[in-house]
Symmetry: C2
Subunit: 548 residues, 2 copies
């Protein structure tokens, strides 16, 4: 312990070999301590049922406090260097496990039964919210209400600020046990809209760098190209892995190390393949996660199944917690331009409006095609509107915008985003519990009498793993009676989702897995993994109220 | 897919945001592909029982080939940047899991019964080998046999080149099933001497930077200070974790996520604490591994036990394979100074001599104190001598020496080390199987008749988990009959190891674990983890021939 001081004299004329490493050691040590503190604090808070400070808020606050202390105490710069939020590190190493885990922990039934609605919210809704925010900010600038940004930059800001955070609210939803359908909507939307926001941001950024020869149509085409390309890549890698694990015969006894190694490498492979092709890694890895869980996972040996679920959960928990700490710390360290408080204030108002435009218009569209007993009730729409807090994705993109945009513009966007992230995480995160109680959407299938009566007949719940199976025959009848054209189109889309379920059962599952398409069989290993390693954090997975 | 080309035109006047990330994507993608290839190739080679190319050689060759291809094909520099061997990355992220896993997977019985010998080989022996190599290289320079280096730099080279690799040979040993005691010696020595070599290297590097006011005595004191400090830190963290897991009550059902998270963070905490204090992280994490396995591990819930063993094994397998690939790639990319072929040639001869000095003199010392039936037989000594191949640690330190030393010196040391690493990994790694057969040390407790008869009475094997329990009473008698002074001293040391076993059983185990000091109880969860996730790579752990 004393040797630290003894070594120091040598530093004067030349940095000795161990010196940077020592700084790195201290930096990483602090990070580990904050991680441990967050985990323990989060645990204690959850135990004591204090929902005002969810784990994400706790991590953010810990990061903020340590950051402020480090600022005051004038820490050495080479230790500080270990805390700067590097977008590259975020996008390459912290984000992939979280998004993969989101896809991997997805309980397919509630997700797919709400698939149409989720896609509407995430893709059309996020697009709408981005445009609305962008236009409002631009108009706000034009009428001297706030700092004036060029139109493309307003759209970039709109895109990055439309990414809602999938971590914080969901952990509370899960803790309190909300309605399954609401949970599926919030979960699906927040995961998919991250992918959407990053794609939009990058597209806008390309438009900005090369404004000539770009028209709106081309932008949309390019965006769709990227999205579809990434989705195909992700699904393709997922199916490849399923076939590999089906036929390579690695599930015999002493090859499980190899099996787990390969399984763990696939998601990352998908992410990097997509990024390498200039597509969106986050979209790919999300779909790789869904496909791998649905097909490849059941081809693993039982012990590997148990291991990989626990592994991905651990890695994503660490990454999630780390992101909030890291963000808190960086917010305290980074220089901000507080000169544009107006910008922050009005952009908060605008994102609330944009979020409302997203949720209520999409809900209206979705309700057009849904049968009466499956319409999204108003209180669910309100909950969805409320739960749009902003997290790490918005922060990381805002940090990137500092490099992408001219000095003042990037700084303003970054400061505004930072403020929005901190406010929404602390305020919305802290009040979600009360909001859910006020809206009476707590207690999915357990107290279904009060909250779910409005959604559908109670008999559909419980027996069928707690979700309403879409009854397509019924819908068809209805659609023929109402001659609305949009409604018809939307219903066709809806039907294609139903035919997907049939396709899955009859062709995909038998082809890609060693099973015969009986889904109950697949559910079993999942159950065993649940009991061995349970999370109360992300996804449906874990002892959530939905596993009935 | 086509969008990659579409995006390119925009790059010309400004690097777009996705561009560096795309390069990173391609770089990491290549790395993952090489990893997968290595795993699969290693698996196939092992299945076909081709011991001429062990997994490490395969990885090294894959890295070399891809590196040469990348050199020829003139890859973009920002993709290449992802392949440069960064010592910082190696020391902070790749090395810790490997060393921890070495300690964690240590079967305590054979290790502790040979503890005296292992420490002698690793500490005294490595010290001796470093000095011998250093002096010979210095003398070689003086008589114009080879490139002339200053004396301190010769000692630095001696230190770094004395680190033997714990991965390659051991995987073959395990595959073929060698004698338990030989395995314990090779394993223990190669793990501990990495720690020793890095400590020596750093000490020498400090001496070099601050030559005034340093005498030999001070250097030894500082070295011991570092070593003892690091050891205490590691053991301290290990014991702390044991107490935490004993009393925190995290082994109940739905806290296992938290439990695993914390368990996984502790080793890294130990490493960084040590580095932050200016001590040796590698020594700390090794002992944290040993202590955590021995005490903390048994306080975990069963499912967490299963998970953490599999987790550490996975992480260390990935890190190991990655290191060899990375090293191969870097060797192909880095510029070398081949002008001093003489230096390479003679240093190879010198390290063979130094290794002989290490092994045979230490074996002589050890045999002085051991009773007749436990002496290290000549063929084990030869096997130990032969198995001293050099790996990633030597490479990483040599790479560091480029920064630490003046231009020509660092380059020469680096090139020589590179050549030695490649030659020893490929030649020694490839011929270990034949060597073991020639020395007739194959088949530990299964064909004990032929190979183990010389070590001890067969009755001691088999029943007692395949290792010879040291019989201290017997020794004491002997020591009183021989009046040799050194022998007496050494025996006292030896006895202290015995009293440690008693201390462990009577005080440490009951205090730090939830058990009552019955070691058989502790062995059980280990067995269950074996069946669930088996490695044939590092450590005693796994379905090795020793689990009888």
């Amino acid at each position: 312990m004393g040797s630290e001081n003894e070594i120091s004299p040598a530093d004067a004329h030349r940095a000795p070999p161990g010196k940077e490493q020592q700084a790195a050691g201290v930096g990483i040590l602090l990070q580990i301590m904050m991680l441990v503190l967050s985990f323990v604090l989060g645990h204690v808070l959850r135990r004591k049922k204090i929902y005002i400070i969810p784990e994400a808020s706790a991590s953010l606050l810990i990061g903020l406090i340590v950051g402020v202390l480090a600022n005051i105490s004038d820490t050495e710069t080479n230790i500080r260097a270990w805390f700067n939020f590097h977008e590259e590190f975020f996008f390459l190493f912290l984000l992939p496990p979280i998004i993969f885990q989101s896809g991997f922990s997805l309980a397919p039934k509630p997700f797919f039964s709400n698939f149409g609605a989720i896609v509407t919210f995430a893709i059309f809704g996020t697009f709408l919210a981005s445009i609305v925010t962008g236009v409002l900010v631009y108009v706000g600038g034009l009428v001297f209400l706030m700092y004036k940004l060029p139109f493309v930059e307003c759209l970039m800001f709109g895109a990055l600020i439309s990414a809602t955070d999938p971590v914080t609210v969901l952990s509370i939803f899960q803790e309190l046990g909300t309605d399954v359908n609401l949970y599926a909507l919030v979960f699906g939307e927040s995961v998919l809209n991250d992918a959407m926001a990053i794609s939009l941001y990058r597209t806008m950024s390309l438009v900005r760098n090369n404004p000539s020869g770009q028209n709106f149509f081309m932008v949309v085409v390019r965006f769709l190209e990227t999205f579809v390309g990434s989705l195909s890549t992700g699904v393709g890698v997922g199916f490849t892995s399923a076939l590999l694990f089906k036929y390579a015969g690695l599930d015999i006894d002493n090859l499980q190390n190899l099996e787990s190694c390969l399984f763990v490498l696939f998601p990352y492979f998908s992410y990097m393949l997509s990024e390498g092709l200039g597509l969106s890694g986050i979209v790919s890895i999300l779909f790789t996660g869904i496909v791998m869980k649905h097909y490849a996972y059941s081809n693993l040996s039982q012990s590997s199944q148990r291991f990989v679920s626990a592994f991905f959960e651990l890695i994503s928990s660490l990454a999630e917690t780390f992101i909030f700490i890291y963000m808190g710390f960086d917010i305290a360290m980074e220089k901000h331009s507080w000169s544009h408080v107006g910008f922050i204030f009005f952009s908060i108002i605008f994102i609330i409006i944009a979020r409302a435009a997203n949720v209520f218009s999409c809900a209206y569209l979705v309700n057009l095609v849904r049968p009466a007993h499956r319409k999204i009730p108003a209180k669910h729409q309100k909950a969805l509107w409320y739960s749009g807090l902003r997290g790490a994705m918005a922060f990381a993109l805002a940090l990137q915008s500092i490099h992408d945009l001219p000095e003042g513009h990037g700084q303003t966007i970054f400061t505004a985003t930072t403020a929005i992230v901190v406010l929404t995480v602390l305020l919305i995160g802290g009040s979600t519990g009360n909001m859910l109680e006020a809206l009476e959407v707590i207690g999915g299938d357990t107290h279904s009498d009060s909250s779910l009566a409005s959604v559908g007949p109670i008999t559909n719940y419980g027996g069928n793993n707690g979700y309403v199976a879409p009854s397509y025959e019924e819908e068809e009848e209805e659609s023929s009676s109402s001659g609305n054209k949009i409604k018809m189109k939307l219903k066709e889309l809806h039907k294609s989702a139903a035919s997907f379920t049939a396709l899955d059962r009859n062709y995909l599952t038998p082809f890609f897995t060693s099973q015969n398409g009986e889904e109950d069989e697949e559910a079993e290993p999942l159950n065993s993994s649940r009991s061995s390693f349970t999370s109360s954090r992300s996804g449906f997975h874990g002892q959530s109220p939905y596993s009935s």
